[in-house]
Symmetry: C2
Subunit: 213 residues, 2 copies
């Protein structure tokens, strides 16, 4: 199979997600790094790839695709390597659920942790901390005593969630929120994976590993 | 298979989506209608089903699930009846992409059409009309000359999108925006489906069919 070209700004959790999945699959890819800065995602060239001015967008031969969930599901199906989606329908439903929780709730909570309070608060109609805590609790409930969100094996759900939660854990308020959480054991398991180690924000942005988020 | 219990407020596009999918599959279901009103989705009973206070949430025997995308993918897999997901990987990626476009972009545009301008505008950083038009254009580009978003057959993508776009088309500004759009042919095809006719907002809320949205 030809190489996947991934367009996006290094360090973004949504750009990291397909990188993680390509790493886990052993799928050949190339990160086409976009500049960080105002308007970077709204150039005519990028809007042709992603009309909403978001990231990431991919090309695979003549096939173009945007939306992270669609991209990672496609990579999982299109390449050999370990299956990243469980076959049991209920386990698969849990994977799908976590992918959406990441989009709907983790993403705004993370955004709030890095300062978008003015956007997040009116949407949730409640204090940001409460929204983020609800999020952490919902993920804890789904993880329960399982090693991974969809069961015994890593799935797309874990790879999507770690891209955001790793980021959260590196902020002081996020670390407080995760203190004592059963998610920490899962984060340790995830941190041991080469795909996760290879794609940290520090590595992606060429920062020292000790740099704060 | 036992009946699916769907909790939600009748008339909500996100509640309609699983109803459409159950109808298309011929899956047995029951709508457990929640009252419409302030705080309706934040009762302790509902928060136990959906900790973020959103809709819908389902029960299938002892299996509980929330998040619309996860629910409809589960119903498609768990029941006999026509497959609502294509088997070709690229067609399936298009379906996945549209499901996410609905969540990320159609939903806020629809919300804007019914008056949530204050929430939507700061997120997109641009006038609401432009955001909604970008949305309609992106869906037109994906539909292209195909009868349905993922190809020759109806998929979850069409059923998700119609629940929102049908609603949009019934508002004066939405009708203006869709005038002359290639999406109208698709909407006509969708309107002919019994599942769509059976679950209109008017039917769900016991309103006369002529009632405006």
């Amino acid at each position: 199979m030809s190489k996947i070209i991934i367009h996006g700004i290094p360090g973004s959790p949504y750009v990291r997600t397909p990188l993680l999945v390509c790493e886990e699959k052993g799928a050949p890819y190339e990160l086409a790094a976009m500049a960080f800065g105002p308007g970077a995602t709204r150039t005519p060239e990028h809007l042709a790839r992603q009309p909403f001015g978001r990231m990431p967008a991919i090309e695979h031969g003549d096939f173009k695709l945007y939306e992270t969930q669609a991209i990672i599901r496609y990579v999982d199906r299109a390449f050999d390597g370990p299956a990243l989606s469980p076959s049991d329908p209920r386990a698969l439903a849990r994977m799908d659920q976590v992918l959406n929780i990441v989009d709907w709730y983790v993403m705004p909570s993370i955004s709030s942790a890095i300062g978008f309070n003015r956007i997040v608060k009116p949407i949730f109609g409640m204090p940001v901390d409460e929204s983020a805590r609800t999020c952490v609790k919902a993920l804890e409930d789904i993880l329960a005593a399982k090693p991974y969100f969809a069961g015994e094996a890593v799935s797309l759900a874990d790879l999507s969630a770690i891209a955001h939660l790793d980021f959260l854990a590196r902020t002081p308020e996020g670390a407080d929120m995760l203190a004592g959480s059963p998610l920490l054991g899962w984060m340790e398991r995830m941190a041991e994976r080469p795909s996760v180690a290879k794609t940290t924000m520090q590595k992606m942005m060429n920062l020292p590993e000790s740099a704060a988020a």
